[in-house]
Amino acid sequence: MEDRIRRLTAEDEAYLRDESHTVGAAEYIAFPRTEEEVRGVLRRAYEAGLPVTLQGGRTGISAGCVPHGGLVVSLTRMNRAEGMRRLEDGRYSVLVQPGVVLSELGKWVESKRLDTRGWDGESLAAYAEFCRGGEFFFSPDPTERSACVGGMAACNASGALSYRYGPVRDHVLALRAVLMDGRTVALRRGERFARGLVFELPCEDGSLLRGRLPGYAMPSTKNTSGYYCREDMDLLDLFIGSDGTLVALTQLELALLPSPAFQWCVNCYFPAEGQAIGFVKTVRDAAEKAAAIEYFDGDALDILRRQRAENPAFASLPPVPDGAAAAVCVELHDDERSRIQARLFRLGEQLRAAGGREEDTQVARTAADVAALKFFRHAVPESVNMLIAQRKKQDPVITKLGTDMAVPDGKLDEVVELYRRGLAEYGLESAVWGHAGNNHLHVNILPRNGEDYRRGKQLYARWARAVTEMGGAVSSEHAVGKSKADFLEIMYGPAHIAEMRALKRVFDPRGLLGRDNLFAFEKEGE
């Protein structure tokens, strides 16, 4: 069988890195197109004792798909929709290969144009009904739309809308996966559970995987730090957010949600951070849940002001009002115009009570305006990346230090205070933004030189400890990958890390898959 493994050449250099800008090393690369080919590739690597790093869109920022030797398996050519189902509640699901790109999936679902070649009768019937019915969408929305769905499942990606609709985990109904030794597993949500912390999982060849789940208590926050484990859990959940360390995902059944008839975005500005955070808490307590509550601090707004003035590519950004030192972007979804309008006006009252002005508040109710405010949201990380790229030219050691930590609901003020104190004490430049609704702010330290970078890393580790003490998560949507393995140990401690290693051995006894993700690779007996 053609297994598509070949030597990695200078032309494949891009496959040694991801958006973390760390560069790895590998000897071989493969681009399988089918599950059967994935089985062949992994089995051969298994027999040869070759470490394997799985890749999708390489858009991750935790170096999860940066290879540490061996074979790179890029799943980007497994980019087809393989079927569709109509669910009992009238929704639909789409069966996709892991290399399907998020933006493509979005286009397929929105235009209702899917390549149905090779689909079974059930899928074609579901598709025909899907075309006749209303609008649907796939809700997880990480900023980087060129991510692949396999990678998104591997890191349990989320995005702004996960405030209302949840991360990828909540939308995976079934999956197919290949183990390092070539065995396959098929799981459907609601069908197979752990008993306490003990599990038995049959492979399709009839063999049985038996193991024990780590006994840690996961934080009650948005979280993608280490394996998802809890007593009596649905075993499908083990593979979502497993950071490419247990199996290669070869098919995902993703649930589609009915599109709300109205999607409005509101940019609310405040003269001070405290007022904005107070507003976030008020909005969060509203009876009808917002779709997203995003935050941008004064430094992020200053970056946007500069970009808008200096860079023609950003000239169409909505202007940031003078005097604004913090912004909260609220997205509202509703099916009734009168209801969403009432919600908007209520938001206005809350905004005024918090110290904002309705005259400064931008309201997007049309597709063009919504696109402009989404551009606003995306322009911040993009601008920061541009800034860092510039500084990296002066000092190659510099990369962006972006946190990804979330804390429980009652701790938002405390964590903001923690960040501000640390940044002031260390004298570091920064920009803060992110998913305030989930108490999940990305603090981006912007090092000016190597010394800043070193001190920034120290501060980051200090925060990981403090956030753990608050009952938070060290990684909430970017996953641990390789760059946050130290923080995972801070969060769970060595004993639980050992339990994670033991769990991994059930699926990958030779420790070949996703080496150095979550925890550093250790040879048996060392």
Binding site: S111, A261, V266, A315, S316, P318, Q341, L344, F345, L347, G348, L351, R357, E358, E359, D360, T361, Q362, V363, A364, R365, T366, A367, A368, D369, A372, L373
Partner: protein
């Protein structure tokens, strides 16, 4: 300065549904947006008002649901909205539309400046502006990218045409159609949205306008749509095999079919 802005509601996508009987676009108001060029006209009107003082009237001919569009225009800075709506106006081509719009503008006016988008993205005719000017007996300039009122009832206007730029002075009142380059439309503020929702939108039908019914709507339209359809675009990839000669022959044959 009293300014009128003509706004058209257009389908938000290319996937329009057509009426099988009249072959015109079904406007159910759900998936509709303001014609993007008209958004620039509204923005320019509001900017002129902000710098010179004055009053902006947004006017549209359309189905009752187009009222949402006019409330949105008020939210973005217009002072009032006028909706010309009547079953008799349905199915209008550009001649019947400009006849009706002109009547509305006469009733709502007088205006110093009437602004339109360069064209509507659904019909692509770019006829309404010039036809309006004709109906109202006013001068007009198309593809305008800059407007500078210079006093004494005149304005200096820059045009951005496919061949280059042109600077023209025009007497007011005049009808101008604007290109996208003229400005970046603003987003409504929450305070604006409240104003828009609280505004009372004027509605005028056949009776209020006192127009000749035979010149309105489908009846008043010399343009009759015989057939409309959504073009089907098929894309196919073919791989040629064989030696160079046979591949060249196959290619020639395909080229011949395409060019035939």
């Amino acid at each position: 300065m009293r300014i009128a802005v003509c706004l058209k509601q257009v389908p938000s996508t290319n996937e329009v549904r057509l009426d099988p009987e009249t072959h015109t676009i079904l406007r159910d108001g759900r998936q509709s947006v303001v014609n993007p060029f008209d958004a620039h006209a509204l923005e320019e009107a509001v900017r002129l008002k902000e710098s010179l003082g004055g009053h902006v009237t947004a006017i549209s001919m359309g189905i009752p649901a187009a009222e949402t569009l006019l409330r949105d225009a008020v939210a973005r800075g217009a002072d009032e909205g006028v909706l010309l709506t009547d079953r008799a106006f349905a199915g209008a081509d550009t001649l019947a539309t400009s006849y009706t719009l002109a009547a509305g503008l006469r009733k709502a006016g007088p205006f110093d400046l009437i602004l339109c988008g360069k064209m509507a993205v659904d019909g692509d005719t770019a006829q309404i502006g010039p036809e309006l000017a004709q109906q109202l007996g006013l001068p007009h300039l198309t593809e305008v990218c800059e407007i500078t009122p210079v006093g004494e009832g005149r304005a200096r206007v820059r045009r951005l045409t496919q061949r280059g730029g042109q600077e023209v002075e025009v007497t007011l009142p005049a009808v101008l159609t604007l290109v996208r380059e003229i400005n970046t439309p603003r987003m409504p503020t929450l305070a604006g949205v409240r104003r828009g929702e609280a505004a009372s939108i004027v509605r005028w039908g056949l009776a209020e306008l006192g127009v000749d019914e035979s010149r309105c709507g489908l009846k008043g339209s010399p343009t009759q749509v015989v057939r409309t359809f959504v073009p089907v675009r098929a894309r196919e990839t073919a791989f040629l095999s064989g030696d160079a000669r046979s591949q060249a022959e196959q290619l020639l044959k395909i080229a011949g079919e395409v060019l035939a």
